[in-house]
Symmetry: C2
Subunit: 204 residues, 2 copies
C-alpha cells in the first residue's frame, strides 16, 4: 500500500483526486489538506509515502511546502500536481526536492502510474515542459527586479510601489526599466505578463 497525502486548495478537485486514486488497489489516501502551511504537520502525523502538492495554495505555496517537507519528513517523496506548466515552476520544484512534476492537463489514467514511479524512486517529468524549461534558461531577473515586478502586478503607480517597498521612485523606475528590457517587453504590464507566464514570479 502506498500512502498518499493530497494538498490542493480546491476542495472539489482534492476530493475528486482522492476518489480517482482510491480506485487503485495499491493506493491509499491518508491525509488531505487545503493549505500549504498544513502540509508538514499533516505529513508528520500520517507519514505518507508520496505527497501530491499543488503549486497555487493559500498560506505558503506548494514549492515552499515541498522544501519544508523534504527537511521535515525526508522519507516522503513529492509529486507536484499543478494547473500551470510554467517552466520556472518546474525548475523551482526540482530544486525544492520534488521527485515529479505533472500538469493537470495530463490524462487521469497516468496519475496513478506517476505516483507509483515517484514512490519507487524514479523521476516523473512532463517531456514537453522539460524541453521548454531547458530551452529557456533561468530567470534573468535579479531579486529586486522580481520584487518590483511583483509589486507592480496589482496595477499601482510607481509612487505606490516605491512606498510599499521603501524605495525611492527613481530606483523603482530603474528596476522596472531593467526588467522591461530583460523580458523583451515595452511596458511594465507586458513585462509582468511575460514574467508570470514563465514562472519567474512567485505564485499569486
Amino acid at each position: 500500500m502506498i500512502r498518499l497525502l493530497l494538498a490542493d486548495d480546491q476542495a472539489l478537485v482534492r476530493g475528486a483526486l482522492a476518489a480517482l486514486l482510491q480506485l487503485e488497489d495499491d493506493l491509499e489516501v491518508v491525509a488531505e489538506v487545503s493549505r500549504g502551511d498544513e502540509v508538514v504537520d499533516a505529513a508528520r502525523e500520517s507519514t505518507p509515502d508520496v505527497a501530491l502538492l499543488d503549486v497555487e495554495m493559500p498560506g505558503i505555496d506548494g514549492l515552499a511546502a515541498a522544501r519544508l517537507l523534504r527537511d521535515a519528513v525526508p522519507t516522503c517523496r513529492v509529486l507536484m500536481v499543478t494547473t500551470f506548466g510554467r517552466p520556472g515552476y518546474l525548475k523551482q520544484a526540482m530544486s525544492a526536492g520534488a521527485s515529479g512534476f505533472v500538469v493537470k492537463d495530463t490524462p487521469a489514467r497516468q496519475l496513478a502510474d506517476a505516483v507509483r514511479r515517484v514512490h519507487s524512486g524514479l523521476r516523473v517529468v512532463d517531456p514537453t515542459l522539460a524541453a521548454e524549461s531547458l530551452t529557456q534558461g533561468d530567470s534573468p531577473l535579479t531579486e529586486r527586479e522580481a520584487d518590483v515586478l511583483q509589486a507592480a502586478r496589482s496595477g499601482g503607480t510607481v509612487a505606490v510601489i516605491a512606498k510599499t517597498l521603501f524605495l525611492s521612485e527613481g530606483t523603482v523606475r530603474n528596476h522596472l526599466s531593467s526588467a522591461i528590457g530583460k523580458t523583451g517587453a515595452r511596458t511594465r504590464a507586458e513585462a509582468v505578463r511575460v514574467a508570470v507566464d514563465n514562472g519567474w514570479l512567485l505564485p499569486h
Copy 2:
C-alpha cells in the same frame, strides 16, 4: 440513472470528477469533453440529463457553451462548475440558462447532491456568491469599454490597442479613462484587475 456530461479543459480534473461521480449509484458519466465547442455535439450524441461545464475552456467558454446547449438540447440541464467565483460569471451563467453554479472550493460530497438537485429541476447556487452578485450589480462597463479593457490585458500601449480594434488613439484613451473611472481605479492595469475579479471581462 442520471446521465452526465463533463466539460473541463484539465484532463486530470475531468477524470477525477468522473471517478468521484461514478461512485454514486444513481449517476453515470456518459460523455467527457475538453473544449467548449465540443459540448453541443457530445450532448447531441449522448443525450445527458445534466451537463457539468467549466467556465474557462478553449474553443468557446462555458457560458457561451451553456447558451448553445440550452437551444440545441433543451432537456439537458446545466450545472456550471468553475474555479473562480466571480459575481459576473454567476449572472451570465444564469442568463445563459444554467440551473446551478458551483465553485471548485465546495466540498466534494456536495457535488453529487448538487447534480441531483439540478436534475430534479431545482436551482443550486452558492449562497455567498449569490449575495455578492446581488450586492454588486451588473457590469457598469459599456460593450466598447469592455473591449478596450480586454485588449489592454496583454499590456500593450494605446497605439497597439487602437490598431487591433481599428480605433483612433484618442478614442481608446477616452474609453480607458471612462473604464478607469467606473472601476474606481487609478491606472488601466488596476482597472483590468478589478474588471477581471468581478467577471466583467470574458474569460481568458
